[in-house]
């Protein structure tokens, strides 16, 4: 996310969630070879973005409350973000240096060591290696592999952008009149990526005001409805 904010010169306060998320999805599509790696990173990025953005969407009420209480300091999430962004930027620059060196080094070829076996007819290549070392090496390998496999198990990728999801939800609302949040977010029927996209889409729809959300009690289900004044759109 830091990368995107920096690269896209995104203004986190005014930018629409869908812009950034669409961009993520675009990145995902582009980097086919790294699909898995990026997909898992995407989850974290999206979550960070989400938490930041949701704080942004709420500020009027919270901010008033907080500033009314002089003993409590309202910590702007953006300030923290800026500091992190700066540190990150520094390492990105250092990464550029490494990349340059990599490119330079890739232009140079060397050769494999000469086959030295003809020169060592009597040497035991297993000197210093115990049979146990073999088992330990294999054990370590399989352990490592186990760790790697877990996040890989199943991550059915579904590529749907926030704007597409917004459109879907909107159409559903036009047809159904109202939707229950729990139905939209049913974890059994929805991938994690879709879950995030859906959540972002609802937030975005709220911000753009074609829909309103109602929640009767804390933790009770949220009802999503079309805003009356916009219904004729």
């Amino acid at each position: 996310m830091l990368h995107l904010i920096d690269k896209a010169e995104v203004d986190i306060y005014t930018v629409s969630i869908s812009t950034i998320t669409d961009q993520y999805l675009h990145v995902l599509n582009e980097a086919k070879a790294w699909n898995m790696e990026i997909a898992s990173e995407f989850m974290v990025m999206a979550a960070t973005l989400l938490s930041l953005k949701s704080k942004m969407l709420l500020p009027p009420t919270i901010k008033e409350e907080e500033t009314n209480d002089p003993t409590e300091e309202w910590l702007d999430p953006r300030e923290e973000l800026i500091e992190r962004l700066l540190v990150y930027k520094q390492f990105k620059r250092l990464g550029d240096q490494l990349e340059e060196r990599e490119a330079e080094q890739n232009r140079v070829y060397s050769r494999l060591p000469l086959d030295l076996t003809p020169f060592t007819p009597t040497q035991n290549p297993l000197t210093g290696v115990e049979p146990e070392d073999l088992w330990k090496a294999l054990f370590a390998l399989l352990e490592q592999q186990k760790e790697i496999e877990q996040p890989l198990t199943k991550l059915a990728r579904e590529e749907i952008s926030v704007s597409e999801r917004m459109e879907q939800i909107y159409q559903d609302l036009v047809r159904e009149g109202e939707l229950w949040f729990s139905k939209l977010m049913d974890i059994d029927y929805i991938t994690r990526e879709r879950l995030i996209t859906t959540f972002l889409a609802i937030l975005e729809l709220m911000k753009l005001k074609p829909v309103i959300c109602r929640q009767v009690d804390l933790f009770s289900d949220i009802c999503i409805r079309l805003e009356q004044t916009r219904e004729n759109n």
Partner: protein
């Protein structure tokens, strides 16, 4: 034996060592002449090869001498059928390496804090490529693994020592840093007044 003969022998040994490379100490032990002398011969060889327009050069990588082709000949070598195709590291991998190279020893969590994304899979990949290595464990709860760069890292980037990497100060000036900070404050809409009010 005269210098020419020694140089010839040294060249043969270094050639045979290939990508493994060989350091001055080992060379001195093999040819049984003092280390300083070997070093001197090597320095002369490096110069002579250049003057001779040889098609290869003598380089020191990760403390070990090895022979490599010249960068300016890449186009020709890549046309060769046997030339290995080279795929660079991903941008994410490069970033993680940069953090490790400059902050080592460093834990996974520290790396993730800087990048703002999970990095465990990249760390595993880099470890399997032997570009990084585990360099002990940190103090504190859970005693997390500390990561550092490896010999292969130096080899991969053609470095003799890790301090051959440019210092952060040389590529990131504090004026620029301040400029960026101001810029970001503006862009994210954290304006001056707000800060004054808070104080």
């Amino acid at each position: 034996m005269e210098a020419k003969a020694w140089k010839s022998i040294l060249e043969g040994i270094i050639f045979a060592a290939g990508t493994d490379g060989i350091n001055v100490k080992e060379l001195a032990e093999i040819v049984e002449i003092p280390k300083q002398e070997v070093q001197m011969l090597l320095n002369e060889m490096q110069l002579e090869w250049k003057l001779d327009h040889r098609g290869t050069e003598l380089v020191q990588i990760a403390g070990k001498y090895q022979i490599t082709t010249l960068p300016e000949h890449t186009v020709y070598i890549q046309k060769m059928a046997q030339a290995p195709t080279r795929v660079g590291l991903s941008r994410a991998a490069i970033e993680v390496l940069a953090i490790i190279a400059y902050k080592q020893p460093v834990t996974r969590v520290e790396i993730e804090e800087i990048r703002g994304v999970k990095s465990d899979r990249i760390l595993q990949q880099l470890e399997r490529k032997e570009l990084i290595r585990q360099a002990g464990r940190a103090e504190g709860p859970g005693r997390p693994i500390l990561f550092g760069t490896s010999r292969q890292f130096l080899q991969y980037f053609g470095l003799n020592k890790i301090d051959e990497l440019p210092s952060p100060e040389s590529i990131f000036h504090w004026q620029e840093w301040e400029e960026d900070r101001k810029n970001l404050y503006e862009r994210l809409g954290v304006e001056g007044e707000e800060k004054v009010q808070e104080e």
